[in-house]
Amino acid sequence: MSNAVRLENLRKVFEGRGGSSRVVAVDDVSLEVKDGSLVTLLGPSGCGKTTVLRMIAGFEAPTEGDVFIGDERITALPANKRRTSMVFQSYGLFPHMTVFNNIGYGLRIRKVPAPELRARVLSMLELVGLAGTEARLPSQLSGGQQQRVALARALITEPRVLLFDEPLSNLDAKLRVQMRLEIRRLQQRLQITSVYVTHDQDEAMTLSDQIVIMHQGRIQQVGSPQEIYSRPRTLFVADFIGKGNFLAGTVRAVDGDRAEVEITQGRLRIPAGGFRPADAVWVLLRPEAIGLAPAGVGRWQGRIAAATYLGSEIFYEVAVGGQNLLVKVGHPQGATPLEAGNPVGVVFDEGSLHLIPREGTA
């Protein structure tokens, strides 16, 4: 039986309470999460990620649209019958129960006999690396341990779908990196269809089979991490993922798979990606795709406006034709950073540029 999750035209409107206006939290979201894959919902705070997740879990009823797991339409199924397990941002551990009882809770609801329950809880504790803590209360665990208990509790019932709502945001930076690798490892090993909500792009990049970028309740783009990064479809996506230089331009001609684009600094031949002559576009130039050369060398000439030294790399702002370009340079050992005011040449490969539609505004 397939455990793919399918969302069809989901829409959620919160009617304002006590005078506040109504909020369209989720607007026409359709999505397919393949069986056994991990999909991340990524977007700024308030864009509706949690709401989508809660509609999958059954905590919120969609205003319109449907939710399917496999071929089963579960829109009307109560939350406790859906066999989806959620890992909450605040963990939601039962404070009055021991670790053992927390993890065993779902099995007890399913009336699993005590010996089997015990065995399964202990092996789950083993799996998440918490053996020996079963008699403790959640308040006696560290943040990372609580996180693992939450994970174990979600996994043990063998849910059809695993849901994560920013599970790592309460952990410190180091633990966060470690835990996300662990989550990925477990998810791949157990092959559970997972939907993971985060606003942290690094997390999304490392974890996901597919990333879904959301903005103001709508899906902006769905794709693999590479796709999203290198071929963003909207300015919002490009801006949200990684850093970029956006140069306003207009397509002048299309010649085979290349488009000739006119920008202030001159003309560039960029992979066309379906644009037509006269289309208004943004040219996306990623900072790491730009190199610096001695003055007089390179496609464009500019001057260093500012430098930010980050240890393993340096970010330069280079003034080129009245515009500042952000340039990332892997820091060569021993070399001293260029100082502001130095003239430099700018080099890049036209084939690594990417076009994004530009509507009226910049």
Binding site: G58, N80, P95, S139
Partner: protein, 553 residues
């Protein structure tokens, strides 16, 4: 629509909502409606002549002014004393804080009229102070407005104290510190920061005390002399004159200001609060200067002294052979508490112990529904269940005799009507406790249970209930106290089969059988303290077995 469907999918939840909605309608709304109806319908036709007749007569109008004046005075005096205590404890770091706190909350658990009894024993014409200090040369005139302001202030200032303590403790000391830091004197800090931030609390305390005073029945029926107030007049109209229309109309008149104050409090003042109550109480770091502290200490000492004197007098009075004539000490009054008062004690305890747990559970369930669930009419359920708190007992009592005097809802004379009255009058206590506790619990905890397969009922029983157990017990404790000390509403529904100790005490006081009344009151207070102690021990055990919830949130 969506929500309706979601609810219907959960039969237990739907049933709970249905049952509660029907009971609230029957036992809260319907009696009030009957009061209203009785006052405006005569021979099946609508008429305002009952009101016209009442308002025509100066002696019927008088109690309206009297009640309002008394309410206003008590609200101001009680709030002032409450603020004094709260400020002294939360901000001025006076010595003996725990002691003051204890004494300042004690009047909450004592039956209301005990203070009137004490006032008579002390300041009546043959009172202790009157005779000892003034040799009977001066009559303090406590029968009337003066006496009522005194006893009601003492009886109700604890509410003001608790409200103000909550507010003051929630004010971040950093605000006061930064004011001081910016060059303000301590007095300026108080005037420009502390006091303005306490204004919503002060307003809410004024309104609550106003309502409590208006609704008070136990004190005025003993101490009002010829200063007639609405609650007692409504009672006399019904029980003394069989004038149901007039009694109901007075009840409606009494209802208006109380309801207005309640709604103002709920929907306006509470919105104006700048202080987020969710914050943890912060320790008072900003101290006042030594002189002010000493002054506050002395004032608190004065008030606690008065309270102790009042209760002490009742204790002493209960051992006096014949108050006013023979001051030999005796324990015969205690003997007759159990002799003539045995059945009152038994009945009161039975009724209270049946009503209390039901009240507690109902309160928690309603709190749960209101805080955690979405359904049509939720706001109405919330409002209705809190309504009995604002409606004076006299009005509720009259409503109950009017509503449940005929088939098919024939309940007069049964234990059920008393129990129901207890339940629906006290359920707001449980709801408040439950709501406060639930708001502290991360909803994710309950959602996690649902997510793992538990239905609404199961989630409530295995997760929510254990987490709100301490709140449940404190709701239970206070509910029990209110059952044991209730008088204004139940006085209408007691019957030969079921008698209440408070009503027996009232009869004794009325017959000026002071020592006997004092002994009864002492036994009543002792029982209340005992039960509170037991509940405390119970909660303590629960709390230690589930230590530290907060950490997980």
């Amino acid at each position: 629509m969506n929500e309706l469907r979601k609810i219907l999918r959960e039969p237990v939840l739907a049933a709970a909502i249905g049952v509660i909605a029907v009971s609230l309608f029957l036992f809260v709304i319907y009696p009030l409606f009957k009061v209203f109806q009785m006052s405006v319908v005569e021979d099946g036709r609508f008429t305002l002549h009952v009101y016209r007749d009442l308002l025509d007569k100066p002696f019927e109008r008088r109690p309206i002014y009297n009640s309002l004046i008394l309410g206003a005075l008590v609200a101001v005096a009680g709030t002032a004393v409450g603020y004094l205590f709260a400020f002294a404890i939360a901000r001025a770091d006076v010595p003996w804080k725990r002691f003051f706190r204890l004494i300042a909350t004690f009047p909450i658990i004592s039956p209301p009229f005990v203070l009137s009894l004490a006032a008579i024993l002390l300041l009546g014409r043959k009172g202790f102070i009157t005779r000892m200090l003034f040799q009977g040369q001066w009559d303090p005139h406590i029968y009337g407005l003066r006496g009522l302001v005194l006893v009601e202030t003492i009886a109700f200032f604890p509410t003001a104290f608790l409200i103000m303590l909550g507010i003051l403790q929630a004010i971040d000391p950093a605000l006061e510190e930064s004011s001081l830091n910016l060059g303000a004197t301590r007095w300026q800090v108080f005037r420009t920061v502390t006091l303005p931030l306490s204004v919503p609390g002060l307003a809410s305390s004024l309104l609550v005390l106003f309502v409590e005073s208006l609704a008070d029945f136990g004190n005025p029926i003993i101490l009002s002399g010829n200063f007639h107030v609405l609650s007692v007049q409504a009672y006399l109209h019904i029980t003394g004159m069989v004038d149901f229309g007039g009694g109901a109309a007075l009840a409606v008149i009494l209802l208006f200001p109380t309801l207005a104050a309640f709604l103002l409090q709920k929907y306006w003042v509470s919105r104006k609060s700048y202080v987020t109550v969710t914050g943890k109480p912060s320790p008072a770091r900003l101290s006042v200067d030594p002189f002010t502290r000493r002054l506050l200490f002395v004032l608190c000492l004065g008030v606690t002294g008065l309270i102790l004197l009042l209760y002490g007098t009742v204790i002493f009075g209960s051992f006096v052979t014949l108050w006013g004539a023979n001051y030999t000490l005796t324990i015969k009054h205690y003997a007759s508490v159990f002799h003539i008062g045995g059945r009152y004690l038994r009945d009161t305890l039975i009724l209270a112990s049946v009503a209390t747990p039901i009240t507690g559970i109902l309160g928690m369930v309603i709190a749960f529904l209101v805080v955690r669930k979405q359904f049509v009419g939720k706001g109405l359920m919330d409002l209705t269940s809190m309504l009995t708190f604002a409606v004076p007992g006299t009005v509720v009592g009259i409503g109950y005799i009017l509503a449940f005097n005929e088939r098919p809802l024939l309940l007069t004379g049964t234990a059920a009507i008393i129990v129901l009255l207890f339940i629906f009058r006290n359920v707001p206590v449980g709801i408040r406790a439950g709501v406060a506790a639930l708001q502290q619990i991360d909803p994710a905890i309950e959602e996690a249970a649902t997510n793992l397969g538990a239905g609404s009922a199961r989630t409530f029983v295995t997760i929510t209930l254990p987490l709100i157990t301490p709140a449940f017990f404190s709701g239970l404790a206070y509910g029990f106290v209110r059952c044991m000390t209730a008088i204004s509403a139940v006085i209408f529904v007691v019957s030969g089969r079921w008698n209440l100790i408070t009503i027996a005490i009232l009869g004794l006081v009325e017959n000026a059988d002071m020592s006997q009344a004092a002994a009864f009151s002492m036994v009543l207070i002792a029982i209340v303290l005992l039960v509170l102690g037991l509940i405390q021990v119970g909660v303590g055990r629960v709390a230690t077995s589930q230590m530290g919830y907060e950490a997980a949130g």
